[in-house]
Symmetry: C2
Subunit: 229 residues, 2 copies
């Protein structure tokens, strides 16, 4: 035990709630724990913060090690510090949420995880530690934020149809949205660039593809523009 301190210190971890949208469903990436406590139990990807890395670096490292994820949208959520959240000792966890464009089945064999898998929000297993509570906090943040910041585009491929965009909002918010109002709003902001390509969706006539204009959004935001869906 080579590291000695005058006062007892909490251990510091990061935990990541990873959201993705698959067809019509909001999904969460979970890992199966390979070590105690809660060995064999599903949990959020995460782990201990090293003393020589920032919190963001720790979150990105764990996402890559435990779930094979790189270059995702990542934002700090909240820091959880109740006294008994880990049976081993006092552990304070800085939680993040990540938004991923393509929901794939990862089976990265990593340090402390034996499996990584996407679960529908409607079909979640029991989670280790206080991870169900952290997930609920992340979901509340995502549902709030998607209505006043254009972060939803992080969950879509770069080119998308208006139907895809509406399906995404419905999957995240958990309820249906009026199609006419939705289209009027999203097109009214003039932040979607119509592309020359179209895409056939099922038996319908080919649908216009769009991409989001983040540069224009940043410019409008500086002038006080408020995005609201």
């Amino acid at each position: 035990m080579p590291f000695q301190y005058e006062y007892p210190r909490a251990a510091l971890t990061v935990d990541c709630v990873v959201f993705g949208v698959d067809e019509h469903e909001l999904k969460i990436l979970l890992i199966k724990r390979g070590i105690e406590p809660f060995a064999g139990c599903w949990a959020l990807p995460g782990g201990f913060v090293r003393v020589d890395e920032t919190l963001d670096e720790a979150a990105r490292r764990e996402l890559e090690e435990e779930a094979g994820l790189k270059d995702v949208f990542l934002e700090q959520l909240y820091t959880f510090g109740s006294l008994k959240r880990d049976p081993r000792e006092r552990v304070v966890s800085v939680a993040y949420y990540a938004l991923v464009k393509r929901v794939e089945h990862h089976t990265t064999a990593a340090t402390d995880a034996t499996d990584a898998r996407w679960f529908a929000l409607s079909d979640l297993p029991r989670l280790a530690f206080d991870h169900t509570y952290i997930l609920a906090t992340a979901l509340e943040r995502l549902r709030g934020k998607i209505t006043y910041q254009p972060i939803g585009f992080e969950l879509l491929p770069p080119k998308f149809t208006l139907t895809q965009l509406q399906t995404l909002y419905e999957a995240v918010l958990g309820h249906e949205i009026d199609k006419r109002n939705f289209r009027k709003k999203v097109l009214g902001y003039d932040l979607l660039i119509p592309l020359k390509e179209k895409r056939r969706e099922g038996a319908h006539r080919p649908a216009q593809l769009f991409r989001f204009d983040p540069v224009k959004y940043e410019r409008l935001k500086k002038k006080g523009f408020l995005f609201e869906i």
Copy 2:
């Protein structure tokens, strides 16, 4: 050095950005540091988290010890964990922001502080550590949140006039607001209860006093109501 660990551990602190509104100005409560590093320098109230207290408890304890503040609105802001933010060693700080109704001059002589004083946002001294950055983050959060959650009332006395409410919004947002639109909006939500009392403001005729109805707000919020100023 009785506390030993297998891996090096960061120290954990809390820092609090305390906002108050005085006449027409947004003010911040700062303490003068009594110990190194940055002895004699102004800083946010805060300090080390004890291993047997939650993060919220640590923030409330420090606010009371260093600034004599009790029973204030307190919310976690963000956790700051860059590597060199403290010259002594790796320190990760969970930042909070607090909203205080009455701006008074505190001179509580406390553990690590020699003075506590309110500063106008327009007249801030140089701050210790990365506290200027933490303060800027808190200000951005407050300015955002006051427009979509009724937290502004935490900065007002329980009974207030519409002029006081508008002055508060102008002080926080840092710009003037159109009086007619503002009154139409805040009265339109039906969340302000008109009281039987009036208050004389300067040479004008007595102004109606109101109080905010938090119970009704919670009820409306559950039905999907969105507050927006």
